[in-house]
Symmetry: C2
Subunit: 403 residues, 2 copies
Amino acid sequence: MDFLAFLAADPEAMRLPLEVLLVFGTAKFLAEVFERLRQPGIVGEILAGVVLGSSVLNWIRPDELLRSLAEMGVMFLLFRVGLEVKPSELLRLGGTAAVVAAAGVFLPFVMGWAIVSAWGFGQIEAIFVGATMVATSVGITAQVLAAKGLLSERSSKIILAAAVIDDVLGLLVLAVVSSTARGKINVVELSITAVVAIAFVIVMAAWGSKAATHVVPRVHASMRAGEAEFSLAVVFLFALSVLAVYTGVAAIVGAFLAGMALAETVGERVKDLAHGATELLVPFFLAGIGLNVDLSVFASPSLIVLALVILAAAVLSKLLGCGLGALPLGRADAFRVGVGMVPRGEVGMVAAQLGLVMGAISKDIYTAVVFMAVATTLAAPPLLTLAYRSVKKNQEQEVFRLG
Amino acid sequence: MDFLAFLAADPEAMRLPLEVLLVFGTAKFLAEVFERLRQPGIVGEILAGVVLGSSVLNWIRPDELLRSLAEMGVMFLLFRVGLEVKPSELLRLGGTAAVVAAAGVFLPFVMGWAIVSAWGFGQIEAIFVGATMVATSVGITAQVLAAKGLLSERSSKIILAAAVIDDVLGLLVLAVVSSTARGKINVVELSITAVVAIAFVIVMAAWGSKAATHVVPRVHASMRAGEAEFSLAVVFLFALSVLAVYTGVAAIVGAFLAGMALAETVGERVKDLAHGATELLVPFFLAGIGLNVDLSVFASPSLIVLALVILAAAVLSKLLGCGLGALPLGRADAFRVGVGMVPRGEVGMVAAQLGLVMGAISKDIYTAVVFMAVATTLAAPPLLTLAYRSVKKNQEQEVFRLG
């Protein structure tokens, strides 16, 4: 932000409003541009980060403020998505979702490992790349489906349920891989991790809603402070996020389960207020993905080729793995599910970072993996628009009728 | 947070959800406790910061995350308050408000200077304390009035208008004082600062609303992205905050003027969404005030006496100065205005910090001034409840009727 510092009588007082203005304003401006070009606005918001970041203008560097807003943004996003999903419906689709998740973990891992092995890298490096390709980042898909009003589609619910299971599986793969890289696998510890994570998700999905239906209205009725129901919902959201991290899964899985548990309990007022917080914060999550892109690292042609091969494998392996898992639902839904599971994000980057710090993977491989995570994220919204085209038309008519 | 680190498989992933949960949850819990004791909930939210901070539990230290959320919280708070205020009404009350602000700047400055001089400190130190006692922190008052539905009262509008003028005057006093302490006063620079700040406020208050009424609906009508009106409002809020800091006044003055300019333009949907962001963020502003309290510094009895004298002078000088300025409105409204202008906050603390860094004031005086800022903030909500008691009853009946 140094280039803008001359503007400010008081640079410290200027920093927050200026950063928020630049990131939020650019994201919403490019979203509008993309909508007019009949492209998903979400891609514009991600590109806002690329434009503002080190690759183009170099006006904004990802700092603590932007990281915090981004993290809260994706948590509110998954919370809001959870609020639209009834747990009973999700549990009914649990069998299919588990197959989708398992196939969508197995195939990317094997393809990532095979490619990097074949390229001549070592086994540890190949295993790590496989692990980074496992975990779907459901935030992008959820945002696209929510914005288009498609969360009630059967395929959307499969995607959400599979993404939760996928996160648990991804956690286990990562735990196994990093123990392998360290040279010893503690089977007892891994088993405990697996059991705790699975138990948390099942308990919350199965009984969280029932508990919330009993407890929340009573607590709310006895409260006197203003907007008490919203305050309760926010506390519940962050409490389950803390619990989720404690049991080993991602905070956003907790946020999603919190939303789902409250879906049939809270009123429209809470949904509107949560929507306001989400609308404010999500652009920071989206632009934050773009901010982490550093195009300058692609100086070597062989690295570009490797990155593109890894990217292609990342897209195809989820499309095939998850799509085959969802084939019993018909080809259209199978394609939707496959596409919806394509984006990788935080989890893949965390795995890559861990590998880099441990010395298990080289800087080149790291760069290729980060590129894969961002590119799958950018590819998902247009692919989803394509996959849901036939549904979208009905939906738009309905919105029109309601409006 | 070290004491809680053992909880986390991944301490870095745990940090944000846990901090948000602790601060937001404790603030809302204590707000509820205070409401049940028939005290203002806002005091409970401030005390949550004291309880979590270094004085009591020492669980939370003010970090970049909490500071950012607090800063955004007070900006959204003033924006939301601005949305309820029509600029025409505020300008009509401008004359009275200017008298209130001027008297409420003069008297605290003189009393602060006189007390510290009489106590035996040097002239520079006395002048600095006077300067820290000048600027009203309108956030607390605005929150109390908004929560009680009292923003449409004449006295509430006087308070808001006077607080904006007060901020400009406080800026000038601070500029003069810090130049004095540096040993040279640049009259030209000070005059430019004054003219730019005053021009910005007058232009925005007088023509901001007209411009927004012309521009916003057209831009909004031509936009295709979802919730475009809310995005426009947020961009406007942060753009005016940046402009405000650039012209020398506080970011929250820009946020307030942005809200006021949009008051007659935006729909209920934008107000609801902005309310959601405000409800989420304001507890961090309130608890943040409490987090900065360090009770352990009050080890010396003479410092306690000095702090209490400064506190009494801070309360009395605003009550008398602003109250006398508002006396033409009748005694009840004069008392309300006086009480509403009592809280000091950020600006006083910034002045104190500046004096400390410049070596103009001692650590003892600094401590006493910070105590004054927090204590006036804590005193304001119960005093406001008292001052507006007769109005509050009518209001509650009205709410009841509407409900």
